[in-house]
């Protein structure tokens, strides 16, 4: 009565967790921009769009990667806006599902209304990061890419985009992979020694082991040292323009911005508050702070402004101290600046050299906000200030993500412990604990070891609509 072969059927009732419902969100940052994009993804994307979109043809019949002009309306009578609808059919969309992007004119009110209309159809509001999560679950991107996308979203400059892409391309991953496999290699010798402890074979001696660990540590240190640079690439450089009233701080800013945002005037003390502008020079984000001229004054508003200038100096990465050819350098003020920020972070600029080109006054750069003379030199100095001596190419592995930085720091600590165990002549199993922990820490960077935290971290960093 032997039972015959027949594979056992397990209960295959499917957990209804597949992200099949349709979601919507504003994909561009909220606020007034030239154009807002509303993104819809899921099975009912086309159907729902057709309920509110009135164009020449139905979206549901449209082929992938086509753009359609039409009007949006809730009832087909009152039109809200003219829009362009882009159609993406599964799996060739960002999320891998059927999706639609509606581009509208910039008013937040209009986007809000359109989304409300969509929510009345079979669509729900997306959670933060849900589009990317779907892209990930549908195999459109891997975890490292998802993390890089999160970085790109938060990035503001070309270089930072490059950095993120560089990560997408795996320069950092490759480096970490390499370190991790040499670590695994070293620790497998330790394990062999333990497994065959009874036999008279030495697999690796402690000097050699220590040397290998040290090599990996050196690599990690190198990577860690790129973090401040990586951070600059991501977050930008804060630059304060400081000097006595009327030396031309605002004019310099304006020159750089090529637009008259700050008020330029002949009356000393025009700028009473700190003005902030962002500008990208060679792909690096500089955040310029135009400060109020610093001098003693009775006037309340000005005092307040000066106080703020001091704070701005403290918070900046670089200070451009400006004086002009018509007055001599205010050493008292300069010395005060040196109490707020280290000397090597201050660039002394002499302005208005168009008036007195052959001046004997001393400065790091000689410029004119009026003619633009010396400005190139100033930019060069600024860049040199930020990067110091480090050479950066797209092939360099750079750590710009705090999570990665923390993992590397941890790995480093474990390796230090392992070296200590070796020097204390402890046996292999003690060395192994730290080596394995270090392996895991490196593994977390590249997703070889994933934890919930990482996933949360990655998907929570997104805003709604990404």
């Amino acid at each position: 009565m032997t039972s015959k072969s027949e594979p056992v059927k397990l209960d295959t009732s499917r957990r209804d967790e597949l992200p099949e419902d349709t979601i919507v969100a504003l994909a561009t940052p909220p606020g007034i921009g030239a154009i807002s994009v509303i993104r819809i993804s899921g099975q009912k994307s086309f159907e729902s769009t057709d309920k509110i979109f009135f164009g020449k043809s139905k979206i549901i019949n449209a082929s992938s990667h086509t753009i359609h002009y039409g009007k949006v309306s809730g009832d087909g009578i009152n039109f809200i806006d003219d829009v362009l609808v882009s159609v993406y059919r599964a799996p060739n969309s960002y999320t891998g599902e059927d999706s639609v992007e509606i581009s509208t004119h910039g008013s937040p009110l209009i986007s809000k209304k359109i989304i409300e209309l969509l929510l009345n159809t079979d669509v729900r509001m997306a959670e933060p990061g849900e589009f990317t999560k779907r892209a990930f679950l549908n195999n459109r991107i891997d975890l490292a890419q998802a993390e890089a996308v999160a970085d790109v979203i938060n990035s503001r400059t070309e270089a930072s985009l490059k950095g993120a892409r560089n990560q997408l391309d795996g320069v950092l991953s490759n480096k970490v992979h390499e370190m991790r496999s040499s670590l695994i290699n070293a620790s497998s010798f330790v394990e062999l020694g333990l497994d065959f402890a009874e036999e008279d074979i030495e697999f690796i001696n402690s000097n050699e082991l220590d040397k290998r660990i040290l090599n990996i540590k050196t690599e990690i240190d190198k990577l860690l040292s790129t973090y401040s640079f990586g951070k600059v690439i991501r977050d930008g450089v804060n630059v304060a323009l400081v000097g006595q009233p009327n030396v031309g701080k605002s004019s310099i800013l304006n020159y750089i911005l090529k637009e008259s945002r700050a008020i330029v005037s002949k009356i000393p003390g025009t700028t009473r508050d700190v003005i902030r502008e962002e500008v990208s020079i060679d792909g690096i984000l500089f955040r310029l702070f135009d400060t109020a001229g610093i001098r003693f004054s009775e006037e309340e508003i000005e005092k307040e402004g000066i106080l703020r200038s001091r704070q701005t100096i403290k918070d900046s990465d670089v200070v451009i101290f400006i004086y002009d050819v018509e007055q001599k350098i205010d050493t008292e003020l300069l010395n005060e600046i040196y109490t707020l920020i280290s000397k090597d972070k201050v660039i002394v600029a002499l302005n208005k050299i168009d008036i007195l080109p052959n001046t004997m006054l001393k400065a790091d750069v000689y410029i004119s906000a009026l003619t633009g003379a010396g400005m190139k030199e100033l930019f060069k100095k600024l860049k040199a200030q930020t990067f110091g001596n480090s050479v950066y190419s797209e092939k360099t592995a750079i750590v710009s993500n705090l999570r990665h930085y923390n993992c590397l720091t941890k790995a480093n600590e474990y390796l230090n412990n392992a070296r200590e165990s070796i020097s204390n002549k402890l046996s292999g199993e003690f060395i192994s604990v730290d080596l394995r922990n270090a392996e895991n820490s490196l593994g977390e960077i590249i997703g070889e070891v994933t934890t919930d935290d990482i996933l949360n971290n990655i998907f929570m960093k997104f805003c709604i609509g990404k």
Binding site: S3, K4, E6, V8, F136, F430, V433, D434, G447, F459
Partner: protein, 625 residues
């Protein structure tokens, strides 16, 4: 028609543990073996324990198993291996009297209540609607059961090779088991073929002992079992092993036989153990080593045979004897029986669950070499788990699965099920990622509670353990605060070559110095008046635990870092009904493997080869949805 709650097939080390555990848990057990006098027979070397295997024996013992007890009663040499390393890799090992071991095993089994030994050969397994119902023996008898543990060792279609000669059999002079494999294949199981080997047996009085290096047992031998009375231990007179080596001339002789090696000529289809290789494997694989260590191990107190450990081979007998004569001390040795290789059927263990119940047939359990392991200890460890789970199932109680962070047994079974070995699996300490916590010295602290819960460990033992636990906790706490003063301790430190202290230092800190022992430190003036200290001094085992906890505190803490990190993975459960096949985001290989093995947790899933890290991330994201 005979009927039992549980039938255990196969009287080896796995079967003994399964049968005893299940019957001690109150189930009626029919223990079927082809030859009851062969019960617990050691088919390979006459030794129990060794690196990592000794850990398993201690764990089996803490759960209330038999192996440690039998080994203690029949051991003729006890040694703690790896003493030069840290306590986590110390491993107990003993040489056993082969004959007495088997007799003792028989006596233990036959004295177990609820258990009936049935001498028979099983030829078929009965299942109805994917549920096991019983077995049919060679005489045509049907025996019924609610659960069946298969622990048939190397006997399934066993084939023994010496040179190009092969004989059907599971062990020298014993018949193979035919029929069971086919019966399982008919039910839908997938089978494979493995091989293992034994070395030649030598005649004791033909060896030139005088020129060989002696290896005696430990001066103070330690028993395996927590139940062994230390005052009446060891039971038997103790013997020594001896060491000799092969050399290049020996290797040359062996190489002559490679043409007739069943391994190299492809006659053996089974995959052999990578870690316990035959001498011919060693010569080929470690070509740059010009000698290999061999141990001459006594087979028993009054046995005239010697087991040549390290010389496992299946080369032709003439070659074996010729090579032996080139070995120091064996110049005139007589070979009682040549070494041989055994090939046998196994069932890739992805087909069982973590309880060792097969996924295909309810109530059917696999334990031991049938799951692809090698070694008595690995077999016994599975036996006790299968026996306990079979009994729990019949009693309608929750299953018993040990975590990887709890026991080598947990590591063993998880590895089997998850990685589904295709070569004989042997335990190593490196397989346990939580090695520093899974020590042979604390198996009782880790596992005895379970043995007690199942009624396999009596109240007295558990009370003793909890008293000790109390002393340990109090002592650790005390020593973290209790300070010794410079004037009292510096002379002692100086005498130990340890640097003096300035004012005062806690005992916990002092204990971390490698050159000091806790016993010496607390033996210094005054501390022993403290009641906690005096109770600690009175309990050697507690003292050892406290010393390890203090000395290696930092490491143990970092080991816990890893446990915590991994435990969260283990704690993320995957529902049994989870359908991997519909998850298109998974890699193709990952999806197939996941579907086959059906892991219970993300942790288990992450250990499956072919499942990529990104598969794991995808699962995590899914499970969080």
């Amino acid at each position: 028609m005979r009927e039992f709650d549980i039938i255990v097939v196969g009287g080896g080390h796995a079967g003994i543990e399964a049968a005893c555990a299940a019957s001690n848990m109150g189930c009626s057990v029919g223990f079927i073996t082809m030859d009851k006098l062969a019960m617990g027979r050691m088919s390979c070397n006459p030794a129990i324990g060794g690196t990592a295997k000794g850990h398993l024996v201690r764990e089996i013992d803490a759960l209330g198993g038999m192996m440690g007890i039998i080994a203690d009663r029949t051991g003729i040499q006890f040694r703690m291996l790896n003493k030069s390393k840290g306590p986590a890799v110390w491993s107990p090992r003993c040489q056993s009297d082969r004959k007495l071991y088997s007799e003792e095993a028989y006596s233990v089994v036959s004295n177990t209540k609820n258990l009936e030994i049935v001498e028979a050969s099983v030829v078929d397994i009965i299942a109805e609607g994917k549920k096991v119902k019983g077995v049919i023996t060679a005489t045509g008898e049907q025996i019924q059961c609610s659960a069946l543990v298969l622990s048939s060792g190397t006997f399934l279609n066993g084939l023994m090779h010496t040179g190009l000669n092969s004989v059907r059999g599971g062990r020298f002079g014993e018949n193979p088991a035919i029929g069971i494999t086919q019966s399982l294949i008919n039910m839908g199981f997938e089978s494979g073929r493995l091989k293992t080997g034994t070395p030649p047996r030598l005649k004791k009085n033909t060896i030139n002992w005088n020129i060989l290096e002696e290896q005696p047992g430990d001066e103070i031998p330690q028993p395996f079992s927590y139940q062994t009375d230390i005052n009446n231990f060891p039971h038997l007179p103790q013997m020594s092993c001896y060491i000799t080596y092969t050399d290049e001339t020996v290797h040359k002789v062996l190489e002559k036989g490679f043409d007739e090696s069943p391994m190299f000529t492809g006659r053996i289809k089974g995959v052999g153990p990578r870690y316990c290789p035959s001498i011919e494997d060693k010569i080929v694989r470690f070509a740059d080593k010009n000698k290999h260590q061999l141990f001459l191990e006594p087979e028993g107190l009054d046995s005239d045979q010697i087991y040549l450990n390290g010389f496992s081979t299946s080369l032709p007998a003439e070659i074996q004897i010729e090579a032996l004569h080139k070995i120091k001390g064996l110049e005139e040795v007589e070979m009682v029986r040549p070494g041989y290789a055994v090939e046998y059927d196994f069932f890739p263990p992805s087909q069982v669950d973590l309880t060792l119940e097969t996924k295909l047939i309810e109530g059917l359990y696999f334990a031991g070499q049938i799951n692809g392991t090698s070694g008595y200890e690995e077999a016994a460890a599975q036996g006790i788990v299968a026996g306990i789970n079979a009994a729990l199932k019949i009693q309608g109680k929750p299953e018993f699965v040990l975590k990887r962070s709890e026991a080598y047994i947990g590591v063993l079974i998880d590895d089997l099920v998850t990685k589904s070995t295709y070569e004989p699996y042997r335990m190593f300490t490196s397989r346990a990622e939580h090695r520093l916590l899974l020590r042979q010295d604390n198996a009782d602290r880790r596992l005895m509670k379970y043995g007690h819960q199942f009624g396999l460990i009596d109240d007295k033992l558990i009370e003793k353990l909890s008293t000790r636990e109390d002393i340990i906790t109090k002592s650790v706490k005390l020593f973290e605060n209790m300070k010794l003063h410079a004037r009292n301790i510096n002379p002692f430190l100086e005498s130990k070559g340890s640097s003096g202290i300035d004012s005062a230092e806690t005992i916990s800190k002092l204990c971390k110095r490698p050159e000091l022992t806790l016993k010496e430190i607390i033996g210094l003036n005054g501390t022993e008046q403290n009641p906690v200290v005096s109770s600690l001094i009175a309990d050697e085992k507690a003292l050892e635990q406290v010393e390890i906890e203090l000395k290696y505190e930092g490491y143990i803490k970092r080991q816990f870092d890893m446990v915590d990190r991994l435990e969260r993975y283990e704690a993320t459960k995957i529902p049994l009904t989870f359908d991997f096949l519909t998850m298109k985001a998974l890699s193709t290989e990952g999806r197939e493997k996941l579907n086959k093995i059906k892991p219970r947790s993300i942790g288990q899933a992450s250990r499956i080869s072919g499942v990529t890290p990104s598969d794991i991330s995808i699962l995590l994201v899914y499970l969080k949805n």
